[in-house]
């Protein structure tokens, strides 16, 4: 364990290395590039490979290939690059490839404001690609949590054989805070299952264990892996039938949902006596927490719910987190997106959107101004 002073981007790179990152492919894009640059310095010293590809499409396809060759693999980007990666996210889903994709949000639409912060891509992180699937999405609110949730993202990816999105933003990316970096052994690091031995007879490589996750027959070990982007049965054979379609898509979703208690994380404060609940996540939650403390000084019984996992949501935990709250106010730096989830989940309370559209971290007065009409 060592203490240092770092930005969110360095923390992500350090977290990935603690989790056992062996391969990074990327394409430069603000505000994520320091992750790439730092790893380009550090990862080769630890036996890993860092490569700059010709675009984000190549980057994500390269990490999927690297993961199949047995390496823990990651890429990092921002909105425009993440849009280019969209197609391959569902390739990683259907081929059950553990990879971590870091999306450091900046303001859009389109090229937008590359150096400025935003939370506008929270839905894109969930649903960028085509087809039915669930990918876990984590959103850190501090430099330390950027480190911790990067490790969690790798663990989730390896445990469930799924792509995982780490959704940072320009504020967290360039924020300097103290950071505790752990050594191997001081923090839980999960490794994927691989088949115990090479089978002499042909076997169905996509047949899951009880946890709905099949062991991963990585390349180069004699498993004769059959990685298939088409709809496939347990043998990996293309099979466009309803029975195969149902069982594959259901399993890919259920394996994540079944482990919701592992995947989903939240933090609550002041909820015991709260009558009004403020919900937030990522960098904006930092300001919201300050505002809540200010409101409580003024006698407003405000509670705080911070989502660390933005997808999938544990609706039961969210609904039960603040039993006496009559109002729920969702504060986010976008046009009001997670608000849509909260208005569905808190169906017995009044739910309001306190949307702050700001290119900087929302200030306490901006948040207060957005919240006050609903108090």
């Amino acid at each position: 364990m060592r203490r240092t002073f770092a930005t969110g981007n360095f923390a992500v790179a350090e977290g990935a290395m603690t989790a056992g990152l062996r391969f990074y492919a990327g394409y430069p894009i603000t505000p994520s590039s320091e992750i790439f640059e730092y790893l380009a310095e550090e990862l080769p010293k630890r036996g890993g490979v860092v490569v700059q590809m010709e675009d984000e499409i190549a980057s994500i396809n390269a990490i999927i290939g690297a993961s199949w060759a047995g390496a823990k693999a990651m890429t990092a980007t921002s909105g425009p690059g993440f849009s280019l990666m969209a197609e391959a996210i569902s390739l990683a889903v259907v081929t059950e490839t553990p990879v971590v994709i870091v999306n450091v949000m900046r303001a859009g639409p389109s090229t937008g404001a590359p150096t400025k912060t935003s939370q506008s891509d929270v839905f894109q992180a969930r649903w960028a690609s085509h087809g039915d699937y669930i990918v876990p999405v984590y959103a850190p609110w501090s430099v330390q949590e950027a480190y911790d949730l990067t490790i969690k993202a790798f663990n989730t990816a390896e445990l469930l054989r799924t792509p995982v999105i780490l959704l940072s933003d320009a504020t967290i990316a360039h924020l300097w805070e103290s950071l505790t970096i752990y050594d191997r052994g001081e923090v839980e690091v999960i490794e994927r299952k691989i088949p115990k031995k090479v089978s002499d007879e042909p076997y169905p490589p996509h047949k899951p264990d009880e946890d709905l996750v099949p062991p991963m027959p990585i390349f180069g070990a004699g498993f004769k892996a059959l990685v298939e982007s088409l709809l496939h049965d347990e043998w990996g054979h293309y099979s466009p039938t309803n029975s195969v379609y149902h069982s594959l898509v259901k399993r890919l979703v259920d394996k994540v949902v079944k482990r919701l208690s592992y995947v989903y994380e939240q933090e609550t404060r002041f909820c015991e006596d709260a009558e009004v609940l403020l919900v937030s996540y990522g960098s904006t939650a930092r300001t919201v927490y300050l505002v809540i403390k200010e409101l409580r000084k003024r006698g407003v019984r405000a509670g705080f719910l911070r989502l660390k996992t933005l997808w999938p949501l544990d609706e039961v935990r969210i609904r039960g987190c603040c039993p006496n709250a009559k109002k729920v106010i969702v504060v986010e730096n976008n046009i009001g997106k997670i608000y849509m989830d909260m208005s569905r989940i808190f169906r017995n309370q009044d739910v309001f959107s306190a949307s702050v559209l700001s290119l900087e971290l929302p200030t306490p007065s901006e948040v207060l101004e957005a919240v006050e009409p609903w108090l």
Binding site: R22, F23, A25, V49, V51, M53, E54, D55, I57, A58, S59, N61, A62, I63, I64, G65, A66, S67, W68, A69, G70, A71, A73, E87, A88, L91, T95, P202, F219, G220, A221, G222, F223, K224, A225, L226, V227, E228, S229, L230, H237, Y238
Partner: protein, 276 residues
């Protein structure tokens, strides 16, 4: 017992349960694939290739389906993205011998940028591009190699573009090996692939193929034998031709041969040798 014995010398390279292939009668992909397997078989029996380290990667299209029948580590990935997938796999495990198969649409159109950069890096892989002059799996649309003026379903007034000569493109970059063969010369496919397997760096082989079902239909050569005969007439072998000679013209002729042969350090060798 007798029923379980292999009936074809290449069966050990195949997932025989999956046969027959989806390829149409008269399709050239099977000819190309069996020539490649004969070459690989030789390399394996010589001991110069470990079959457990062979990785076949393909994208989308008729040619992309070829790898699914192979009894190796195989990956059938996104349209155009076989090359970056293979790059990631080889960088993560440099013992892997990556072979990418794709059609001209997959490799040179949607995947064209990856092709250029893989060749520029002299990346450690063999790419076999099977050129059938058409998007066949999707029903006969124009391809980067479709000759000028040819009717396709998306160029009903005739193709307004001149075709891309991929050999000239790749030859202009840092590839160690650039060759073109034809399904009418399967012995050359075998010979070139056999050579490529033992080389380092980026190795590119274009295989000109017959597609009577789609391309043939458009140009009035719907009959498999007739199409094969017409392609055979157009193919001209040259010994070590220059890139300037790499003509690819359905009217004037298609030059096959080994255009580029170098022994430059590969990407991984360069990566390992980068000066601090």
């Amino acid at each position: 017992m007798a029923l379980a014995m292999h009936v074809h010398p290449l069966d050990k390279h195949l997932r025989v349960k999956r046969l027959p292939t989806i390829f149409c009668s008269g399709c050239g992909i099977g000819v190309a694939l069996s020539a490649m397997l004969r070459a690989l078989d030789k390399r394996i029996s010589e001991g110069s290739v470990n079959p457990n380290k062979v990785l076949w990667v393909s994208g989308i299209g008729c040619s992309g389906r070829a790898v699914l029948y192979l009894n190796y580590d195989v990956a059938h990935v996104l349209h155009g993205r076989a090359i970056p997938f293979a790059i990631g796999a080889v960088l993560a495990n440099p013992e892997l011998k990556a072979i990418v198969i794709g059609g001209d649409g997959d490799i040179a159109a949607i995947g064209g940028n990856h092709l250029i950069h893989a060749a520029k890096r002299n990346f450690d892989m063999v790419v076999v591009m099977i050129t059938n002059f058409i998007y066949a799996m999707t029903g006969g649309q124009v391809a980067p190699t479709t000759p000028y003026g040819v009717y396709t379903t998306t160029t009903p007034a005739g193709n307004p573009e001149y075709p891309l000569n991929v050999i000239k493109l790749v030859g202009a970059l840092n590839a160690n090996y650039v060759a073109r063969a034809s399904v009418t010369t399967p012995h050359l496919i075998e010979q070139y692939f056999y050579k490529a397997l033992a080389m380092r760096g980026f190795r590119f082989i274009e295989v000109v193929a017959t597609c009577p079902e789609m391309f043939g239909r458009h140009i009035g050569l719907r009959d498999s034998v007739e199409m094969f005969g017409e392609l055979k007439k157009r193919v001209v072998y040259r010994h070590r031709p220059s890139l300037e000679e790499a003509m690819m013209d359905w009217e004037k002729g298609i030059v096959i041969g080994e255009f580029v042969e170098r022994n430059n350090p590969s990407f991984i060798e360069l990566l390992r040798g980068v000066k601090k």
